[in-house]
């Protein structure tokens, strides 16, 4: 039997030699000074960056890495450390092989494979990882024994919420079985060859750098972070060659166990290299090997329920039934009731079921959940209600957008064929409300109305007055009016030194936690991530300095932070975990700031993309002049109030501008008396690079933008 370590060493040598060959060819063709840059990332060649500690800009940089630090990591001592570093050297060699492809063509896989993943995609993972909507990642290296088994395994992982990366022949199997793939549905067809696995390692590296503030070159910091915080694992189908074994060495170095059915020349190592001859048992064996626990909510519905289906799109031709609040009366509502008026788990359907709906004709739906409990507060109604969106999306074959009476629901033909009917919406909502909010909800009953007349009547008589009352309450919810603020440390499982302070006018930077959410979380779990922060003895109301805010960030960042202000991006700005929706950065020429949202892929007048701006902060670090935040915060009167507020905003991508226009314009009108302020804000149609800075200044001058006349911020 060949020794395991020798196999890693041999595979590592093979990968290294191919990297040398491919790179030499690229250098011969383009020259050593040719730029090498993966698309949409501020962490170019993240594996090489991380383990050599050196930035990569050119092919010469890669050559230097191969000749120097990578080769040095390939010691052939019979020690685990040599195996781990050789495994990581294998990943770096693989990354260089892939890099050579991207030198040849910025889109080498032509849509057939996903290949490199962008920083924005990495950042999208932040919230679902924290909330455990994604409990783990798997890399399947195949082909599986049969197409059917490949499908069952992939779907099995998907239905458990596990993010699936496919490498090699299993991608063809998935295609033959008609599995829909892509980053949104959390099944990524990475690439055809084993070296494409480096894209997954790169994603892991960047997650650790972004969320964990792991510094390039910090070997132990990285390996400890991935071992303790990233729940990934590998399934490698037999036969496993030396190249794959060497990559496995790298995976295990990061704490990701490899589960394989290959028994030839492989040794079992507990929780690291697991030999499971029965490939049909890969899923459960793997989850146990990596300690991934799947939260199961029991619900009586005939389709799968998982966050992996949130990104699922149902096309017109696949629609069985559709309800659209913009055209007909639809709504969703959570209402608090006296517990004695509620019959727990009573599900009522009023009106025709889906069988009786005519396909292609717009239908109506109203979903009303009545909840009660000793600790229930009316403030929690909208908190639960906002969750309907993601819950309904989690049902396989159901798509949901919007909220309140502006919802749109599509039900697929496949889900209908599987038996999905109106009552199952009730069952699902009941199960989730009772499951997720059990400490405050004692009883819950759900009524699904499909009768058009009832939907219309109830929208007017029941829903609209409730929404109006809530809007009035929300409008009165200001930082000044609130009695307390809350911490949010939900992200600390990934970003251990970051603390959000959530106030009514400043929701969490991920956009997922409002002050009401934080309040509810605190009630649900008094020792949990949202803790009360008192507002006593305010030091400076304009900048937003409170002694207890500082005390809280110091305590909950384990001393990493001393103080934060709530309304300044210059003086002790609030930190970011890395999963922020937007990043705001100083633009000195205009005395203003630019704001970029995650979805915007282009560059900005300060010459940086979202990815590059975002890399300036995150991981719980304070970077004056840069701040991550939620989309909603842009319309807040407290948005960088210390520096003059929203009138400092000089540039935003057009799509973001449109999204926030109504709130921003309203706030600008009330604060400064400026009408249609967003018209004064520049966007990429005028200026989309550092070269266009003058164009932006001209634009701002022409529009009379107030920032130009303001004091410089620094």
């Amino acid at each position: 039997m060949r020794r395991l370590f020798d196999r890693v060493f041999k595979g590592s040598d093979e990968m290294y030699e191919k990297a040398v060959r491919d790179l030499d060819e690229a250098i011969a063709k383009y020259g050593a000074d040719h730029i090498m840059q993966f698309p949409d990332t501020a962490y170019n060649c993240a594996c090489v960056l991380q383990y050599t500690g050196k930035k990569v800009n050119t092919l010469a940089d890669l050559k230097a890495a191969l000749d120097g630090p990578i080769k040095e990591m390939m010691s052939r001592e019979q020690k685990t450390h040599a195996v781990f570093t050789s495994g990581l050297a294998t990943a770096m060699s693989a990354e260089i092989i892939e890099a050579c492809k991207y030198v040849e063509d910025p889109a080498p896989y032509k849509g057939e494979y996903h290949g490199h993943m962008s920083d924005a995609e990495v950042r999208e993972l932040g919230v679902p990882l924290v909330t455990q909507d994604i409990p783990g990642f798997t890399v399947l290296i195949g082909p599986a024994p049969s197409d059917e088994e490949a499908r069952d395994t992939i779907k099995g992982y998907q239905s458990r919420g596990i993010f699936v990366f496919l490498v090699g022949g299993i991608i063809d199997q998935a295609k033959r079985m008609g599995i829909s793939m892509g980053f949104k549905v959390r099944i990524v067809e990475v690439g055809p060859d084993i070296w494409s696995v480096s894209h997954v390692i790169s994603l892991v590296m960047r997650a650790a750098m972004i969320f964990g503030n792991i510094q390039p070159g910090d070997y132990w910091g990285m390996n400890t972070y991935t071992l303790e915080r990233i729940f990934a694992f590998v399934n490698a189908y037999a036969p496993v060659d030396d190249l794959t074994v060497a990559c496995g060495g790298g995976a295990i170095a990061l704490g990701f166990p490899v589960i394989t059915d290959d028994k030839e020349d492989l040794y079992q190592v507990p929780k690291s290299l697991v030999i499971q001859p029965d490939t049909k048992d890969f899923i459960e064996t793997s989850l146990e090997a990596r300690d991934v626990r799947i939260k199961v909510t029991q619900m009586d519905i005939p389709v799968a329920f998982n966050s992996a289906f949130e990104g699922e799109i149902i096309r017109k031709k696949d629609v069985q039934a559709e309800m659209y609040g913009a055209r007909v009366d639809c709504f969703e509502l959570v209402q608090m009731k006296d517990v004695r008026e509620i019959e727990d788990h009573k599900i009522t359907v009023v009106g025709p079921d889906f069988d009786e709906l005519e396909p292609g004709v717009m239908s109506q739906i109203a979903m009303v959940a009545e909840v009660g409990g000793k600790k229930m507060l009316a403030d929690f109604e909208p908190v639960f209600e906002r969750k309907f969106h993601s819950w309904i999306n989690c049902m396989e074959g159901v798509m949901h957008t919007g909220q309140r009476d502006q919802i749109r629901i599509r039900i697929s033909k496949a889900a209908y064929k599987n038996g999905l009917r109106a009552k199952h919406f009730g069952e699902m909502l009941y199960a989730k409300i009772k499951g997720d909010y059990d400490t405050v909800v004692d009883r819950c009953q759900v009524t699904i109305y499909t009768d058009p007349a009832e939907c219309t009547r109830l929208r007017k008589e029941l829903a609209t007055p409730v929404y109006d009352a809530r809007d009035a309450r929300l409008a009165s919810l200001t930082d000044e009016a609130a009695d307390v603020f809350y911490t949010c440390t939900l992200c600390q499982s990934f970003s251990p030194s970051h603390v959000c302070i959530v106030t009514p006018e400043r929701l969490g930077l991920c956009g997922a936690v409002s002050w009401l959410d934080a309040k509810a979380t605190n009630h649900l779990n008094p020792n949990g991530p949202c803790q009360v922060v008192s507002k006593e003895n305010c030091v400076d109301e304009n900048i937003g300095i409170w002694p207890d805010v500082n005390r809280a960030v110091k305590e909950y960042s384990q001393g990493h932070l001393e103080s934060v202000t709530l309304y300044s991006i210059i003086q002790d700005p609030m930190t970011s975990c890395g999963c922020f929706e937007c990043i705001c950065g100083l633009e000195p020429a205009s005395n203003g700031v630019v704001i970029v949202n995650r979805e915007y892929a282009g560059s900005t007048p300060i010459g940086m993309t979202f990815a590059e701006l975002a890399s300036m902060t995150g991981g719980g670090e304070q970077t004056p002049g840069f701040m991550g935040h939620g989309v909603q915060f842009i319309g807040s009167k407290k948005f960088m109030r210390a520096e003059g507020g929203i009138q400092r905003i000089v540039w935003m991508p057009a799509a973001l501008k449109e999204k926030v226009a109504s709130r921003v314009n309203k706030a600008a009108q009330e604060l400064y008396g400026i009408e249609n302020f967003t018209d004064m804000i520049c966007d990429e149609t005028v200026a989309d690079s550092a070269d266009d800075l003058d164009k932006m200044i001209d634009f701002l001058a022409e529009k009379g933008h107030p920032a130009l006349a303001m004091e410089p911020m620094l």
């Binding site: 020794r3 020690k79 450390h81 071992l227 040794y267 190592v269 507990p270 690291s272 499971q276 459960e284």
Partner: protein, 631 residues
């Protein structure tokens, strides 16, 4: 690479000791450092094992000019006899400690001072020995098991029944080599008889009896001690505690339990934990009662109750020199007679409790099964009353202490290994996960670090440096006795010390949630190590001699260590010694204990007094075993 963990160095420990020595000078008492100076140089003949004072014709000493004693005994005979007598002394000591433990089980009752705590272990042993258990009172079973256990000490014929647990291969070797141990007492008596003037002169026969006598300890008396203690006081399971002198508390009543047999310390812990006694301590202005252990008594109560460990053999005087010890209570073995006069220099009360260890300047309260709780109560009470009598001018407590994860009995180790199994593939309650780590190369092997402190080398230095080098090289360590305490003082029992390990061991420590050095207990608990290697060999399907596992006693000094070394070697484990085994005056003896035993039982001694070289030899030895296995 230290990542927040700082090991306490030997230099720091020595600085603490130097500070305490100032107190010794101040109060006018000698300590071991002074006495080492006074005794140096040691007698060269004794050191080489070639001084014979077995009969009154002598003492005879062997020199080139006088190569034979008066009776004609050669250097080989004299060194061989002295060696066997040391082994017999050690076997007698361990085994008699074991016998006391069996007696406590024999005396146990539902309403008495001693109870059956681990009934499962008792029932398993009863089953192993064919004692009926169905529908029987647990104490009836306990008494019958105890009677059989006691009988093992003096059985008329047959062999130690504990040896039934060994591998078939070992049993075959022991029978073939005629070293299968008979009654414990008989092996000691045989050894004394063989070494009497005019009996065995053949060195080979003396070494063979040393092996047999040692086996009667490791696979007899000591094993009885461990098993009975587990049944009576509970089988140790992983738990957290602390170690080094920093565990003494300035504002509490400090009581030190010192020695080996847990019968006394168990009672002290029980009594001191009571609210009544804690209140009593507070009535004298103390914050409460702080029980700490020294030497193997520390190991016993740390393993079972998480009681903190003040230190090992050469720390015993230092502990009293802190000036904050209200009482030191001892049972048997390794107690400096100097504790008597030393305690007189302080307010410290010194209690002896066993007829086996009577020491001047102590209060003797003989502990029996009947009066145990009363004796403990008297001691704890008097200690509380002693609290106000401290002399502030004599107080200095060194700050050093480390967290320590202890309690790694075989059952404790398996419980941790179970956590890394996969329920889809693996069975529970085996050593297979550990074996997988070794066969794959993630771990290179294992070393059993055992033995005492010995001022012939820099105390604790060899233990700590060797352990650090081993863990750095992905070798996992099991430790007992003073070796485990040295690890505790250096922080190597702290799980955080995994950052000092090679990456393989570091990962294993993380996944199994263990420290790199596993504390298996006191020196009698080296019997646990014998069961550990036996279990590993059985689960692996190879012989014990093939395992990449060795023993190491870098600072040994007592006769018990000689007995241990003999049974460890006889069990098939190469043993690396950092102190000469006192036979170097005989080339034949040196050959017999290295090459000779290797031929008979497949293992022998490897001796090197330079710890750097010794650890290199160990690593080479482990790699050679791996190469032979093709892994």
């Amino acid at each position: 690479m230290s990542e927040g963990f700082q090991s306490t160095t030997v230099q720091q420990m020595e600085a603490d000791a130097a500070r305490l020595k100032e107190t010794a000078v101040k109060v006018g008492i000698d300590i071991w450092q002074d006495r080492v100076k006074a005794q140096t140089p040691h007698c060269g003949f004794g050191d080489k094992g070639i001084c014979c004072k077995i009969c009154a014709m002598g003492p005879c000493r062997i020199t080139p000019k006088s190569p034979k004693g008066i009776c004609g005994a050669t250097a080989d005979t004299i060194a061989g006899r002295n060696y066997l007598r040391m082994a017999a002394g050690g076997a007698a000591t361990h085994s008699d400690h074991g016998r006391e433990c069996v007696w406590k089980l024999y005396d146990s009752s539902a309403d008495g001072n001693y109870h059956v705590t681990d009934a499962t272990k008792l029932l398993n042993l009863a089953k192993e020995w064919g004692v009926p258990t169905e529908d029987r009172d647990i104490y009836d079973v306990a008494h019958e098991v105890a009677e059989i256990g006691l009988n093992e000490y003096g059985k008329i014929k047959g062999y130690q029944r504990w040896t039934d647990r060994a591998t078939e291969e070992r049993k075959k070797v022991w029978m073939e080599q005629d070293i299968m141990p008979r009654a414990v007492d008989r092996e000691v008596v045989t050894a004394m008889h063989m070494t009497h003037m005019g009996c065995t002169a053949d060195a080979e026969a003396l070494v063979r009896q040393s092996l047999r006598c040692g086996l009667s300890d490791g696979w007899g008396g000591s094993m009885a001690g461990t098993e009975m203690s587990d049944i009576l006081y509970g089988t140790p399971m992983p738990k957290e505690t602390e170690g080094n002198l920093g565990v003494l508390e300035k504002d509490m009543v400090n009581i030190i339990c010192h020695g080996h047999d847990p019968a006394v310390s168990e009672m002290i812990v029980l009594v001191a934990e009571s609210k009544e006694m804690q209140d009593y301590a507070r009535s004298f202005g103390a914050r409460g009662i702080n029980i700490v252990g020294l030497c193997c008594t520390a190991n016993e109560i740390a393993m079972r109750h998480g009681v903190r460990m003040a230190g090992n053999f050469l720390q015993q005087e230092n502990a009293l020199l802190t000036g904050v010890v209200e009482a030191i209570v001892v049972d048997v073995q390794c107690i400096f007679p100097n504790i008597g006069p030393l305690s007189e220099c302080f307010h410290t009360k010194f209690y002896t409790t066993s007829p086996i260890a009577r020491i001047p300047f102590s209060t003797y309260l003989q502990l029996t099964s009947e009066n145990a709780k009363d004796v403990a109560t008297t001691i704890v009470k008097e200690a509380c009353e002693n609290f106000p009598k401290r002399d502030e001018n004599k107080i200095f407590i060194p700050e050093h202490k480390h967290k320590a994860s202890v309690g790694y009995s075989c059952e404790g180790i398996k419980s941790r290994l179970d956590t890394v199994t996969n329920s889809h593939l693996d069975e529970l309650d085996t050593y297979k996960p550990l074996i997988q780590c070794v066969t794959s190369g993630v771990l290179r092997g294992a070393v059993a670090m055992v033995g005492c402190n010995n001022p012939k080398v820099r105390p604790d230095y060899s233990h700590i440096e060797i352990m650090k080098r081993l863990i750095e090289n992905d070798v996992v360590i099991v430790a007992t006795g003073c070796a485990a305490q040295a690890a505790s003082k250096a922080g190597l029992l702290d799980k955080a010390s995994k950052v000092l390990c090679g990456e393989g061991l570091r990962r294993v420590c993380t996944l199994a949630d263990i420290p790199p050095v596993l504390h298996m207990g006191s020196c009698v608990d080296i019997s646990r190590m014998m069961l550990l290697v036996t279990g590993i060999a059985k689960d692996w399907g190879i012989d014990v001699t093939q395992l990449p596992v060795v023993g190491c006693a870098p600072e040994w000094m007592s006769e018990k260590a000689v007995s241990i070394a003999n049974y460890v070697v006889a069990t098939g484990i190469d043993t690396y010694l950092g102190i000469d085994p006192m036979v170097s005056g005989s080339a034949q003896m040196m050959d017999l204990i290295t090459n000779g035993t290797t031929k008979w039982v497949g293992a022998g001694y490897h001796i090197n007094t330079d710890p750097e070289q010794l650890v290199k030899d160990i690593l080479d030895g482990i790699e050679a075993k791996r190469a032979a296995l093709g892994i």
